[in-house]
Symmetry: C2
Subunit: 332 residues, 2 copies
DNA sequence: ACGCATGTTGTAACCGGTTACATGACCTAG
DNA sequence: CTAGGTCATGTAACCGGTTACAACATGCGT
């Protein structure tokens, strides 16, 4: 037996569908008699309104689409958590879509959301400005997180990757480290690139040598990077990984090799995922969840017709110093 | 200017809406001429189909609703990650809804999903069987994770909490620990209750004393529990926390108090969140992501009309021994 | 008694897709 | 030449809600 519709309810309560709708939406121009009859019929039939149909006629879904490049590592968990918190606080649901592969798939994912969501939050550090511009359906408001360029005039929330990377350079330099390794993030990723560029530039200004190894943001690649260096007989006294997961992998490899952290090698990460605090990792604190919450917040403001200043909001991260660079810091 | 609809495209291409629909859905009974005209019009107008309307007429959304009690701690991140992986692999989107407060809110959240999703995955360890039964809309297939009782005949995926807790009891006993503390999970939570019950029973069979302190699954409550015990001058040589986050909090409190782990106090958690491996926590390994993926998998099978055996699928967890109980294990 | 304001209710169009069915063009076999 | 088949296309109903508007009842003032 198919689910009851509003017309079934109307028939059973002997009223029109308009009256049923009015009762369900708590409009006040309904007589007590009618209200009671409808309420009863709803109960008897176990009627639950069809949200899809409702949003079609209202042109409003109360849902927000979230497009993520992938769902791995604590960074994404955290950002989704922040969005979710804000969304449920403001009465919205989140429609998730993860994009593993290329830009074609991303575009499809975004298109597939048209008519299901009122707006989009897009985290696509691997898409070019153009790709983004034509992937977002025309009439769908969108807020971007960490995109390059101006991204088709969509408002956005951004992390000041350069400031973070420079703080790391300062810190390592002030510790007197002179043979430094940077484990970079995935190629083509805008965050990875900004971090690497700023870090190298800052060290160069100080005349400190850097060696760059490319990673992919996963823990294993941090481990592999260090192992490769050690095997090649390279020596270094400072490591900056482009994110915390790779830093964690690096720490494990260093531990296994019997190198002391921070005495022999200082290690710094980026993001400050929850794990970082637990392993005592010095890192660039990003307040990831807040970044997500802020993006959602702006999107909802736009949806509700409030003025939005537009443009890119830059969030400046701060270095937190823990035991992987400071021997006096409490290890864990 | 409002978004283009299929009728706009039809007008522009000088064909009927039926033809447009046929082209968009790649049906083959369309002439080359028509296909070209439609494709061109779509491009010119930047037309993107309205997924909401589409699913209304197809009675199919390609989305799955996920109801979670809250979104805190790695447990939920992991389970969502597992679901997401499976969902995107099989071409579904995930609609998230977090329920912070009571059963009323949970029921509303599930109802709000009717017509937006093809089915539900519900993780509601705090709801009673009855509450669940009438919160799930009649015609919506649902798969439950870790619910009590039989939950209205919905199929489910369950964790064998008792087996896990017993393994912990065995392990602590075999280490010769005799004064044991259990930091329990939130009251009213079915997992918390099953773990505590089985743990106490197992220790009782061995004649080992246990002291129970109630926590709430958050890290801070694990910390607070240990602090309270130490302040009260209690002494103990084994701690079993009902989840890893509380175990992590407990570890921190023990460290601060100068107690050695595992020599003075052995610590065991539950869940094996990613963090556990990093801090060397002995714990009950749950394969959280797989649990989520499995639930989704079953739901999709049901949606696609495949036979489902029904009933509750029990997943037996395994103890993984790390450095918080085994001094020989590699610390981190 | 009438006109008019007020309040409740129902009818039907609409949101933007899909698709059953009808139509008509064209081809082929008898 | 006609009957029947194939193929591309269009018309309109339908999915399940919302709501503008019309219709009607009621009560009031005059």
């Amino acid at each position: 037996m198919a689910d009851a519709t509003i017309r079934d309810v109307a028939r059973r309560a002997q009223v029109s569908v308009a009256s049923v709708s009015r009762v369900l939406n708590r409009l006040d121009n309904v007589s007590e008699e009618t209200r009671a009859r409808v309420t009863e019929a709803v109960r008897e039939l176990g009627y639950v309104p069809h949200a899809g149909a409702r949003s079609l006629s209202l042109a409003r879904t109360n849902a927000i689409g979230v497009v993520l490049p992938d769902f791995h590592g604590e960074f994404f968990s955290e950002i989704v958590r922040g969005m979710d918190r804000e969304a449920s606080r403001r009465g919205y649901m989140l429609l998730l879509s993860n994009v593993h592969a290329g830009s074609e798939q991303s575009a499809n994912a975004m298109r597939a959301m048209r008519g299901r969501v009122d707006g989009l939050v897009i985290l696509a550090p691997h898409l070019s400005e153009d790709e983004l511009a034509d992937a977002v359906p025309r009439g769908t408001p969108a807020v971007l997180i960490n995109t390059r360029g101006d991204a088709g005039g969509h408002p956005g929330v951004r992390l000041d990757n350069a400031a973070g990377a420079e703080a790391v350079a300062d810190h390592l330099a002030s510790l007197g480290r002179t043979r430094i390794v940077h484990i970079a993030g995935a190629a083509g990723n805008i965050d990875a690139q900004q971090r690497a560029d700023a870090f190298l530039a800052a060290l160069q200004r100080r005349g400190i040598a850097v060696q760059v190894i490319e990673g992919d943001f996963l823990e294993e690649s941090g481990e592999a990077a260090i192992e490769a260096l050690l095997k090649a007989g390279e020596s270094f006294d400072g490591v900056f990984a482009a994110n915390d997961m790779m830093a964690s992998g690096a720490l494990q490899a260093l531990n296994r090799a019997g190198l002391r952290v921070p005495e022999d090698v200082a290690v710094v990460g980026f993001d400050d995922v929850p794990l970082a605090r637990h392993i005592g990792l010095t890192t660039v604190q990003v307040h990831i969840a807040e970044l997500g919450a802020r993006a959602l917040d702006r999107l909802i403001s736009i949806l509700e017709g409030k003025e939005d200043p537009g443009g890119q909001e830059l969030h400046k991260p701060e270095l937190v110093i823990r035991s992987t660079t400071d021997p006096k810091a409490n290890p864990r």
